[in-house]
Symmetry: C2
Subunit: 228 residues, 2 copies
């Protein structure tokens, strides 16, 4: 399954390619460069976490954070995947996927329609993080992934909250990115068809912050929000 096809180490600039991170289609879109993978991961904060439960696949959206070559997800100590990861010595096999859609690619032919996107797929094993300092750093990373600067501008978890929270770590070893960033690719024969063709860029932005109903008076909107 996962036999390496190229030698690599943690220190190289690329993840080693394995059979399951080798694309069968559109191989030109595959990338293994660490910096590119990190940039795609750092541009998001919601991943789709896949695991196997009773032989069937389960995919759940959840927050993540990255510190170096490790991803973190978290949840209640009572939640299913977090219980499952802690119940075995070998951890929980997972697939973590992060996707950003950048544009709609409208070709003349329905067949050639596509999206411009950046995605990362991580195959790995989720293991409970037990070191308290690492748990705290992971939780800070999760908050700062959503809003950089926020972890330092909120109350850190109490011992009781820490006890109720499970953090799982997933090492970034078997990883690939897939990127499409181009215009429509119609065949020569379709170029004369009378259909408009091009890319519709997608934009994501932030609306004006909405204060909590019970926000105490006199607390200003913090700089990391006004700067958005």
């Amino acid at each position: 399954m996962s036999a390496p096809v190229a030698p690599a180490s943690q220190e190289t600039s690329a993840y080693e390619r394995t059979e399951r991170t080798t694309l069968t289609r559109h191989r030109e879109r595959a990338h293994y460069d660490r910096e590119l993978v990190h940039s795609i991961l750092d541009a998001g904060y919601v991943c789709h976490l896949g695991f196997v439960r009773d032989g069937a696949p389960v995919v759940l959206p959840t927050l993540y954070g990255r510190i170096g070559e490790r991803l973190y997800v978290h949840g209640s100590t009572g939640s299913r995947p977090l219980r499952a990861a802690g119940q075995t010595d070998v951890g929980l096999p997972v697939c973590v996927t992060v996707t950003h859609v950048d544009g709609l690619v409208l070709a003349r032919s329905a067949f050639s329609h596509s999206l411009n996107y950046r995605s990362v797929v991580v195959h790995g094993t989720a293991r409970p993080v037990t070191d308290e300092e690492e748990v705290k750093a992971a939780l800070d990373a999760l908050v700062d992934q959503v809003m950089p600067g926020r972890a330092a501008d909120s109350r850190p978890a109490s011992p009781k909250e820490l006890a109720a929270t499970a953090v799982l770590g997933i090492d970034l070893t078997e990883v690939s990115a897939k990127v499409r960033d181009a215009g429509p690719m119609d065949s020569e024969a379709d170029l004369a068809l009378p259909f408009w063709s091009g890319v519709v860029p997608l934009t994501t932005g932030y609306g004006a912050p909405v204060p909590a109903d019970d926000l105490a008076p006199g607390i200003p909107v913090p700089g990391y929000l006004t700067a958005l």
Copy 2:
């Protein structure tokens, strides 16, 4: 696993709840209403498709379309999940998850940070669609899910393209939605903390359409794009 806990049928307004569509956490966020589920599915076009390969989970982003109580995904006849779904009589067990993030929920406590979101999780079986009329309708649905009106304003698939494309159908039977749409939920003791608290709404929009480099002169931007 999936024993129904409440009677329901295709004609009722709600999906029947099963053990695996019953949330273990935040049960107040769970919904089984068909109209709500359809509205969340129809608001997107990229799903995260999970399946099991050699015992390990795989999660891939892919386009989808919905017609009634069936979802469709497509791909090359040579791609892994599409081959896997066609190789068995029982189809391929899948989990299809669609997620929209609507806002960042910044609480006073790091622990109470959250997102406002709408998600749908479909547990089911992907089966190859073999009826040609259904294949064509599914491909139209996939294109129109990305851009309503586009299927009729592009060249339909040729027989050769149809032969190279596999379409999988997944019946909507075991389905749940999860929705959070509220402000921060800090505990009473945290309300006096000096941290700003509230929701940062997220917005998604469309940039100006970028014509293909080889677009023939005189083809106007279609109305479904100028109306965005």
